[in-house]
């Protein structure tokens, strides 16, 4: 079978075309799933089109709160992408056999997450038609001074690296050849460094701004990393569970356990850092704590973010507690609930709990509150739907390639 196929299509584009065909095969529930995701994406695309045509006035952002849901979501997605590395490190640095079998799921999640990041930035631009100004050489990039330029570069670099790794490994499998480590192992190690730097640079984006005391803390980058190493693995655990339910593919129990151990450590570190951050803010008091005060307790009669952050705190604490229960290591609903809680908690903590309060009170200490508009919610939902669409296709492609090479067992070791 494999031979006839390799004869038929050798080229990479051919492989991609074939993959697309395979990835869009499925049962009725698959088609329903894809249809729903497409529909939501289209709603998002439409809302965005209106926003471009009529102006950012359709969002609820203001000159005071000049970044909103889009950038909040962007920050979370960067964490998601960086979190995939927590599968790569055990698989490649510690030669964890079982992890090796499923590491490609982490890479697929990273790809989808990076695409979501790029889309989130894209929809935040007032002039997306001038996007080309950001492209090196034909545009005019403010490198190396601007952190945003760095971010654009590292995000796209990370996307390319992961596309290369996943594409190369799958293509080799598809051709029935053994992947040559020279062609992907260096990139895997590069991707480890890169994953850490995308999140570091994204944190620098905020903590480099002296005018925003709430962000201007050296702890921001470590906190970003710690929370990324919770949300990323948690998301991957969810994905593996969904795979098990829908495709019947059952990953070995080892990787999920490793991931949960990682989550336990990272989440604890994250919470410790959060606590020490809060201590510094509230014990010292003064102007630096104005945002934190508004965020946690409201100030001057404004309480917009208070419900958000306490939801996040509760989610994070309960989620962490659940992860620490012994049977979180077993298959079951506890770890799923824990994952969902932590993902929700971190999404809020990094978005509505970090980006928005950085702007409230404003640099002149005016309090202008922010709640996302319907358009913003639609666009964000659209981005998530598109991300899931992409992830589904990628996973489908991966499953197909693996299954077609060796019928019976599904996902298998990728290399060696």
């Amino acid at each position: 079978m494999a031979n006839s196929r390799t004869d038929a299509v050798r080229s990479y584009p051919g492989f991609l075309w074939w993959g697309l065909g395979q990835a869009t095969n499925g049962g009725l529930s698959f088609y329903v799933w894809m249809f729903v995701l497409t529909a939501i994406s289209l709603v998002g695309a439409n809302a965005w089109a209106h926003q471009v045509a009529e102006g950012m006035i359709l969002t609820n952002m203001t000159d005071h709160v000049s970044w909103g849901l889009y950038i909040a979501n962007f920050t979370f997605c960067v964490g998601l992408a960086a979190g995939g590395v927590m599968m790569v490190i055990p698989a490649y640095l510690y030669d964890d056999e079982d992890m090796h079998k499923v590491v490609i799921i982490g890479e697929a999640v990273a790809i989808a997450a990076i695409v979501m990041c790029t889309l989130s930035v894209m929809v935040d631009l007032g002039r997306p038609d001038r996007f080309w100004h950001l492209i090196p050489v034909i545009g005019r990039v403010n490198w190396p001074v601007s952190m945003l330029t760095w971010d654009v570069i590292v995000l796209n670099g990370y996307l390319l690296i992961n596309l290369h790794i996943v594409g190369y490994l799958l293509y080799m499998r598809y051709l029935g050849r053994k992947p040559n480590p020279r062609w992907y192992v260096p990139f895997v190690f590069l991707s480890i460094l890169w994953a850490i730097s995308i999140h570091t640079v994204t944190a620098f984006l905020y903590c480099g701004l002296g005018g925003r005391p709430f962000w201007n803390t050296a702890l921001l980058a470590p906190r970003f990393l710690a929370s990324a190493f919770v949300s990323g693995p948690a998301f991957i655990i969810l994905v593996m569970r969904i795979l098990r339910i829908t495709t019947g593919y059952s990953a070995p129990p080892g990787p999920a356990r490793t991931l949960i151990q990682i989550i336990r450590v990272s989440m604890t570190i994250n919470l410790i850092m959060l606590a020490s951050e809060l201590f510094t803010l509230f014990y010292t008091g003064g102007a630096h704590s104005a945002s934190a005060k508004y965020l946690f307790f409201g100030s001057h009669g404004h309480f917009g973010l208070v419900p958000w952050i306490w939801t996040a705190i509760v989610c994070n604490l309960v989620g962490t507690a659940l992860f620490f229960m012994p049977n979180a290591l077993e298959r079951g609903s506890i770890r799923i609930v824990a994952c969902v809680l932590c993902i929700v908690g971190i999404w809020i903590e990094k978005g509505m709990g970090l980006i928005i309060p950085g702007f409230i009170p404003s640099t002149l200490h005016e309090i202008v509150e922010y709640t996302p508009s319907l358009v913003e919610w639609k666009v964000t939902a659209g981005i998530w739907a598109f991300g899931f669409l992409l992830l589904t296709v990628l996973l489908k492609l991966i499953a197909t390639v693996f299954a077609s090479e060796k019928s019976g067992t599904a996902l298998e070791r990728v290399s060696e």
Partner: protein, 328 residues
């Protein structure tokens, strides 16, 4: 491939199991099945729906010429390019706002560095400077945009936390003082470092400008500015034809496009011709002093040398060219 698979309503587990059990056929060998046809139809419908969803975008190419789309960064424009662009913008203004305007591009005066100072003892918060800014700089009338905000501060505190910009009573109040804030034309401007595409930069005379036709509207500079000096064009500006100020500078008060960032530019279309900025002329209390920092005899240097001067948020190291002083 068996046709019934397309329409099955089976347990997904079962179908997945069977799928992995039977070898999959490569697409080239597959005959044209119902599934392929359905997929094609689905793809076509999807594309059509996508086009429909994005249809509001159609107004964008209508409003934008290829020239505008491909326009280069200000610093890469030749004089001819500029002339062409200015005429295009003048024509657009005529068409959209019904106003005849003249766009010029005055260069920094060699050797001049602008500084601005406000006498906080004099300023009484009347807001005429904000109004003058709005009129002079063709600000969006819908939100009464202005580059200046006047803070009412409590005597006994320099903490803006105790300040307010929404005061609406007779001024000055006995227990308050007033502090207008606008772009401080920082010597170490965080907004310029932030911009990913050099759409905003510091000119030789110290004025930080924005190329409104290069800015992509990411608003990173707005987050970076510690003085709330930047304004974003959330919607297309509206100005009655009779109120459009026809003397326009390309880097200053020409009518800004939607989706771009703008900020105070010390009225460079006036000040580079030797004239006072509009806010200074409008100030009824004489609280504003403007001039050349490089000229030892200038008014601004008199203030710096003879008054107790401070700058806002000095600890941030932004090095403002904008000063405040008390004289009693």
């Amino acid at each position: 491939m068996t046709p019934h698979k397309t329409t099955n309503g089976q347990d997904p587990n079962e179908s997945a199991n069977r799928r992995s059990a039977e070898p999959l056929l490569p697409i080239l060998e597959a005959p044209s099945t119902r599934r392929t046809v359905l997929k094609t139809v689905g793809a076509a419908l999807g594309l059509a729906a996508f086009g429909e969803a994005l249809s509001p975008l159609m107004v964008v190419p209508e409003n934008m010429s290829i020239d505008e789309f491909l326009q280069q960064h200000y610093k890469e424009l030749s004089d001819d390019d500029k002339q062409r662009i200015f005429s295009r913008l003048e024509a657009e203004t005529k068409e959209r706002f019904g106003a005849e305007v003249k766009i010029v591009d005055p260069k920094p005066i060699p050797g001049v560095r602008f500084g601005y100072a406000i006498n906080v003892s004099k300023c009484n918060g009347n807001g005429k400077c904000m109004e003058a800014c709005n009129r002079e700089n063709n600000h969006h009338r819908g939100v009464d945009q202005s580059y200046i905000r006047v803070l009412e501060m409590s005597k006994g505190s320099m903490d803006m936390e105790h300040g307010s910009t929404t005061f609406d009573h007779t001024v000055p109040q006995d227990d308050k003082f007033y502090m207008p804030v606008q772009c401080q034309q920082c010597d170490n401007p965080p907004c310029v470092s932030a911009c990913p595409i050099e759409a905003t930069w510091k000119e030789d005379d110290g004025i930080v400008v924005v190329d409104y036709n290069w800015c992509i509207g990411c608003r990173y500079c707005e987050a970076a500015c510690p003085y709330h000096a930047r304004r974003f064009n959330w919607e297309p500006p509206e100005i009655p034809a009779g109120e459009v100020n026809p003397n326009q500078g390309y880097l200053s008060n020409r009518i800004r496009p939607q989706g771009a960032m703008e900020k105070c530019h010390f009225c460079l279309h006036r000040t580079r011709e030797g004239r006072a900025p509009a806010c200074q002329e409008a100030c009824p209390t004489g609280a504003r002093v403007f001039g050349d920092l490089n000229d030892p005899d200038s008014d601004i240097n008199y203030v710096l040398k003879n008054k107790r001067v401070f700058v806002l948020k000095e600890e941030l190291g932004t090095k403002p060219s904008f000063f405040y002083y008390f004289d009693s």
